[in-house]
Symmetry: C2
Subunit: 180 residues, 2 copies
């Protein structure tokens, strides 16, 4: 895993791929699938929407730490599987053959099989809307990975895979954050 510079971390979340969020409650690791995410600041600060209906929300709330792992399309069936069972009765890392790797600044694990991993601290919980505000403290990308296409949930059980890239850097130069 290659460390990503801080100014580029938000670009992992800005396109809003389906993500995995890992936690560690002190005894065991858990992971949930999340589609509802949003960038709040380039520094970077993110929002995710989750709540007590997700088993690992309790660990997220108590430890105030998590890792956002970015899966690619080859992992889609595992991602859907993770999202349709519960950590209450399932060791998801074992069931879905995920390799937990230690983070540096948080106890929640990185997922080796993913394209990128972001270590995050919880900075706020907006209970009224089930919004968790996260600050990214470090991120890593796997430079060896050939499959880089992520997936976007439509919400009805279908997913859109990343297609081609269009470059509008010149047109947008005046609006891009520094150091990107």
């Amino acid at each position: 895993m290659h460390k990503l510079k801080q100014s580029r971390i938000f670009t992992l979340i800005e396109p809003a791929p389906v993500i995995l969020v890992t936690t560690c409650d002190g005894n065991k690791n858990d992971v949930m699938t999340i589609s509802w995410t949003m960038v709040l600041d380039f520094t970077p600060v993110f929002a995710i929407a989750t709540g007590a209906w997700n088993y690992s929300f309790a660990a997220l709330q108590r430890t105030r730490e998590c890792v956002i792992a970015i899966p690619t399309v080859d992992l889609l069936d595992r991602v859907v599987g993770i999202g349709t069972c519960s950590g209450a009765d399932t060791d998801k890392f074992a069931k879905f053959k995920l390799t937990a790797m230690p983070g540096k600044l948080v106890k929640a694990p990185l997922i080796k099989e993913c394209l990128a991993n972001i270590e995050c601290k919880v900075v706020d919980l907006i209970e009224k809307y089930n919004i968790v505000v996260l600050e990214a403290v470090a991120a890593y990308e796997d430079p060896e990975r050939k499959e880089k296409r992520t997936v976007h949930a439509v919400g009805d059980g279908t997913f859109i895979v990343d297609g081609r890239m269009i470059d509008r850097r010149k047109m947008m130069a005046s609006k891009l954050p520094a150091g990107i």
Copy 2:
């Protein structure tokens, strides 16, 4: 424009395409480009992140209404253009040749050229994080439109176009909202 049933409206925002947000301050229409969006509830309720740095935020704050218009890839250069100039000194509907159509429940205009339009009411402003909470009150899709691929901003001036669709409705049946 074909009316979309309420239970499917959130599927326009869940994949997190770049959107246009229109407002009407009573005298003139304005439009801004937004990439930071998130679903908060299937009913549907959305969050968008914006603030006073966007000229039309003042109209959004005062009128507590807007329209979210969903552009497709053929409109990308207009979308980037809209995002890199200001309504303070530009009539963006004229400059970018957008056709304003009247909404039914809000004064902000629909954009005829877009794939879909969602009439929204502002239900909350979370000032600390520049989050605007929106409730969708009606939505429409253009059934005649052949180009349906939306774009996702990476945040560095590049954009990812929608690729192929993968169907996992059966695997996800237990988790899908009613009436989808």
